[in-house]
Amino acid sequence: MLAIMHSNLVPVQGLPSPVIKVTALTKTFGDVRAVDAIDFTIQAGTTVALLGGNGAGKSTTISMLLGLLLPSSGSVNVLGHDMIRHRHRALPRMNFSSPYVDLPHRLTVRENLSVYAHLYGLRDVAGRIEAVTTEMDIGDLMHRHTGKLSAGQKTRVALAKALLNEPDLLLLDEPTASLDPDTGDWVRSALANFRRRTGATILLASHNMAEVERLCDFVMIMRAGRIHDQGSPAELVGRYGRATLEEVFLDIARARSSPSKS
């Protein structure tokens, strides 16, 4: 079983360690084995990337971590709670953002944030909305309908929603998908600042290897529902004898070569 090491960040006090513990996690849809008996643990304060081609099992894994999807077998423990039976105990301290899951388009940004602040049971709704508005630089968008925003603006608003409860664990599905390089870079900086400030644990699925190298302490690469390889970005690059993580990813996705040493 993989135990991802602490980064040099200070983890949040009082967090269980590991923050995520997955054991023999399997999900089948009919004859398709989307996730195939994976095991991993993630320690508090780390930023971990889940990589893999389309259909590798990343989104299915994240859905099971969120409790949106029930595993066929195996266990998922998040923040010390069994996500199959007691997900409501962990969910107040987690959050999630994905460009593929929308916030209601016909509500203004402020209205959306207000609704989600109440859903997370926050005491100081106005104060938290103000804080994430500043953090994501969306002050000028607050009275606009969410559906009228550009892709970059929507991403910042979705991240503001995801930071409302200042989560101990943040799950991100392709946080910079379809963003221009400038906006993508801005989002990555904002995420790095959030992590530095809070010591939160972040698990992100991404196809952007530069993003992963910049943000992540550890990488798990999935293929056909299994964790094919793992390590820090530098370790993986060295192990495969490649110059970049993108080349490593392509090797694994195309089953082109084995690591030069394991």
């Binding site: 409790g67 949106l68 899951v101 929308d102 209601p104 016909r106 997370y120 049971g121 926050l122």
Partner: protein, 272 residues
């Protein structure tokens, strides 16, 4: 982070959040609000003039001039209660918001409670203008029914919620292809609920089916109040009992379908 409520089995705050979400939606669109009142108003105008005509041509209607208007207004309570529940749920599907909702601590029962409150609000917005219009145009004041009106109103609301919750469960299970059920399923009850005519005019075997429906007892009760000036406790008790049964069954169905949705990954990829 300071939380007002964490790990409670049921949170009124989260119910309020769902209500807020839909009130914001209504506030942002006067067309939606107008649409809610549109059909009940049209119905009252049409059935009102029909009543005026029949008052001089039908001894049955002449005995209680408002019987048809009362029926159409109460039917709209049932229809709007169903639509208020199922349309609010469909809004979450159309906006692909379910995954966002259910990664918060929101529980299915809290979503149901929020949708129920919204259904009540939508129903009042929908039928109140029509009820007032009936007073102005036809001097028919449904509020003169007094306490029995409250009994009828609540029973029809609960029937509407049961149907709406059932429709929401089917849409969650079978996807947007089932969304038209929100409008059409309730009409299956109309012919056998005795809205405009007594249950006794139906064939006996159909009467057996009708008496299994709470609205049949409500509309029969309404006629008893209007024609005979008595509140039929037996019909009231039957409607309450049946409503408890159907609403509980709908809630169990929704919970069961939610579990299936978690098994099949339906919460992640829903929408248009």
């Amino acid at each position: 982070m300071q939380y007002a409520s964490v790990n409670h089995d049921f949170s009124g705050r989260r119910v309020l959040a769902i209500v807020l979400r839909h009130l914001y939606l209504l506030r942002g669109s006067w067309i939606r609000i107008a649409e809610m009142a549109y059909w009940p108003t049209i119905n009252v105008i049409m059935w009102g003039y029909l009543s005026v005509f029949l008052r001089t041509n039908s001894t049955w209607v002449a005995r209680a001039a408002g019987v048809l208007l009362g029926a159409v207004l109460l039917w709209d309570v049932l229809f709007r209660a169903n639509l208020g529940m199922s349309l609010s749920f469909l809004e979450e599907m159309w906006s692909r918001n379910l995954a966002n909702l259910f990664v918060t601590p929101l529980r299915p029962i809290e979503l149901m409670a929020g949708l129920t409150v919204m259904s009540l609000i939508r129903t009042i917005i929908g039928v109140l203008p029509a009820m007032l219009l009936a007073i102005v145009l036809y001097q028919f004041n449904i509020f003169e029914l007094g306490l029995p009106l409250i009994a009828f109103f609540i029973n029809l609301l609960v029937t509407g919620w049961a149907v709406g919750l059932g429709v929401s469960a089917l849409v969650l299970r079978f996807g947007m292809g089932a969304e038209s059920l929100a409008w059409v399923l309730i009409f299956a009850l109309a012919p056998i609920s005795g809205i405009y005519y007594p249950i006794a005019v139906m064939p006996e075997w159909l009467q057996v089916v009708a008496w299994l429906l709470p609205p049949a007892h409500v509309f029969e009760g309404m006629r008893a109040v209007m024609f005979d000036h008595v509140f039929p406790l037996g019909h009231f008790a039957a409607a309450v009992g049946l409503n408890l049964l159907y609403f509980s069954a709908a809630a169990v169905l929704f919970h069961r379908v939610f579990y299936i949705a978690r098994q099949r990954g339906l919460l992640m990829n829903l929408g248009e």
